[in-house]
Symmetry: C5
Subunit: 248 residues, 5 copies
């Protein structure tokens, strides 16, 4: 459970709500047609820009950003050193039985166990890493786009409200409240983009970079095991991926 | 038929229209000179920025984005494995008879069948892929530009309306309706860009990336067939392009 | 004569003018100090940002974008195949007499005729292509900058008008017309950038990409002639630069 | 102690405060709900976008930007020449005892002393440098994001104030002061971003580039020591990293 | 003396002043607190973002952009051909006595005269060129930042003015002049950025590109002299850097 993310999100929204309530009633900021334009428009249009499958995956990834545990690079380095030790003690063939949920690590172990050509291992892992990056990038792009659609529909809603108000300027007293309503869509769009969509896009980007780093550790580790099967040297090289304070 | 795209487009526009009708009459938002400025200006200027041929192709590609079926990477991987099997059973020369609509796959089969030099195959396919990317990128750029021209002409229309209104401030009652009309061009420009042009540009970009991926599968597959004509190894390598859940 | 470009430009401007005239008199939109600020400021400042020579060349290139005929990639492919045939029939030395206005093609023929070292040919043509790109890029950048200077001076003019109007708020009736004049500079700046400067920048970019493509065809063709002087193979390789429907 | 940075920060803020006080009282610009929205919102949301650890490190790095001494590239060049001299006089093994706080220099000395394979040294140092860059880039990105969150929450606060004011237009006299308060959040957001967050992001970027340069000097120096252990040649090569006036 | 730059700068500013004077008095646009906020804020904050030394160098480089003569690429090509002739007639050792102010050319001559290893020459000159680029880029970045700080402080000043005006809406007659003053900071910021800071940044960028081009000519020339000491071939290759009309 990623506590800081949730706390940040809640405290950010809570402060905005508190500031609103210090200046007046909350229900000034609730308006059904505004919700329809901003939420409906944003989520309708996202399906024009991206295929249904990708949006579904992206929303899932965005939700997981709050709940899943981050695998540390440190752990991946340790796994690679352990694999180096196994392969040294029991031979490369022993890697066939390594159990892992990481697809790339699994493929690396299989290829090493099959005694595949180093250039084949290199090109296969490169494809594997590039494909994973490509799949992960979609989540980030969907949330970035949501973060630009929401303010755009906010502005469209405000323009609609302004046109309707200006066309009926008979009652000067009605101007204020009508403009207040017109502005609410811009408010919705800004809050959605600033507090929710764009920070989640950044978080997904950080996740992707984290995973890329792990894949690079696996890639460099596999190369080291093939070239020079010495667990000490494997650690020496892979520890360069860690921050100084994380090293042994 | 790409159902989600169409549904997204229709629901996005329908929600905007519904929200408009909850606040007043629809015909407040219809104005001929505004249509002339925004639509006419946008489509006139796009021909200054891009050659006639490219705009035509881009509009066609944009329309196809709603109707055409997406070829899955999975299918291309299967085709390459099948080709590897054919070439193994019947010799490389058999690839001359492979039937396909994909220009790059066709050229790859021909070159392999002609027993061409691997470096020639590599450089020819690289040129083929780069040229295809270049041609596809144009569609995306035309729609991106339409998406920036529409709001610009929206603003130009609003400036025209404001100048005309401000120069004739005799009747205070006319200010409101005149400004309402002035704002309509900005509304048109924003809706066109947000709901139609920019999402289609994104969809075309995704299509291009999809096709690039297929070309890379063909490229890597052709290399594998030449180097080591083993259907199992070809699948092992090409399956790295697929998401884990799509693999056998 | 590039008909579509001119038609697009004229129809874009004509629609804006027509829309203006539907709403009032044209001379509301003509104001001498506004012309001075936007045109004078934009063209004065462009000489601070770019050397005199480069601005002159860029304006010339912008004008040519409307008048010059586009050389098709198809034609360059045909020329290279013809050169391959000549060099096969009459020997590489015959290329000395090939007549062409294209500097890069001329240099390529000379170097091949001189029987120069392939690595020298490659590095010389690479420099030639890079230098040409560098020279062509300037035109695009000058027009892009004009397209950002014009709206900036438009805003500066509007700020000047607002300050002068606000400082003299004695006569309420004068506010409207004064603001109308203040807004005109923003209108000028937007129209110049949207309808003229930015589309020409895009057109020049497309031209440059077109020429780059031709240089690549020449480069790959020259390499093919040197490596394997077979017109059929030269065509086979170079046709990859063409769209499928342009191939024989 | 980085005097110019502190002086710039203080003088920038002091001038803004002085200009405020020339036009009225300072307490017009102090408002609790506005502080809550801009500061609370910005610092709450930064924890949604970045993990807790990274924000903590970034704030620490931002603070250090004012206090820490900059290591000159000149000094690193001198150290590398001294190491070259030691290794020449006492053999490569003597590098084991070089004392330094720089992790990369330490690893370089160890690897040379261990008589490691040059390709291993190259790949290990490359990983070390890439990892350090990745860690340092986070600080810059956190401050850049703070610099875009602050104006966004400023605008959100102003929208809240406008809605509340417009919904209660009963007392015309209250309009002015209410709008003044509404605008204050935009003012807070702009000042935070312009004077504090964005300049610190730039300073952290400059620090990172400085450190990268030092790592490149170490990298090139280590390569020179291995290839050709001549202190004169090492200096000749590394001095190319220095500005002409810094060379001996 | 760079006449066009100066003329452009003066004419741009003169036109703005002339347009101001056609609409009223010049002293409407002079206001001390506004000068303090925009100039003081911009130049105070630039020292937070960049070290003192770099700002000093950048301002010097910006001033030199108006005064210094541009070295033509043509001249550098001629120098390299002359050096090739000297080295052919009198041997490579004669290059030790070549006199030049260009640090890179000097180092190239020294290394050739010392009969250094070609790979050492290549790597040393590469470092030299990269370091020079890095140093020159700073000037451009300082002016770009000044060009974004000035409008930001302009907006901050306008926000301050608006808050002060709105909080004291007692006298309706004072509103106009107070807003006029508030807007002046935005005017200052826009003029500084548009007419001075951003164009100088572009000019410095062009200078840097010019110098890079010269360094590439020196680099390619040195390589040619080492590989094949024939002045004719050296010219043949280096003339590719020139525009067609500049060639012999």
């Amino acid at each position: 459970m990623d506590f800081a993310t949730l706390l940040g999100l809640i405290s950010g929204l809570a402060l905005v709500v508190a500031a609103i309530m210090m200046g007046g009633e909350m229900n000034l900021f609730v308006d059904l047609p505004s919700v329809m334009i901003v939420f409906g428009g944003t989520f309708g249009t996202i399906f024009v820009a991206f295929p249904f499958e990708e949006v579904k995956q992206a929303l899932g990834a965005g939700f997981k950003a709050f709940s899943s545990r981050k695998v540390q690079v440190r752990e991946v380095v340790n796994i690679m050193v352990k694999i180096a030790e196994i392969s040294r003690r029991e031979g490369l063939i022993a890697l066939e039985h390594v159990k892992t949920e990481n697809m790339v690590l699994k493929k690396a172990c299989q290829l090493i166990a099959d005694n595949a050509d180093p250039s084949l291992i290199r090109s296969t892992l490169t494809i594997e890493i590039t494909s994973m990056k490509r799949r992960h990038k979609v989540g980030e792009e969907v949330f970035k786009r949501l973060g630009s659609l929401a303010p755009s529909f906010g502005m469209i809603g405000t323009l609609i409200g302004l046109v309707q108000m200006l066309a009926n300027l008979n009652d000067p007293k009605a101007i204020g409240p009508a403009m207040a309503v017109a502005i609410i869509t811009t408010f919705y769009g800004s809050v959605l983009a600033t507090v929710i969509f764009l920070p989640i896009a950044t978080k997904l980007k950080a996740r992707t970079m984290q995973e890329e780093l792990q894949l690079e550790v696996i890639f460099e580790g596999a190369k080291s095991i093939l070239e020079n099967n010495n667990p000490m040297l494997v650690y020496e090289k892979l520890s360069s991926f860690l921050a100084p304070r994380e090293r042994k």
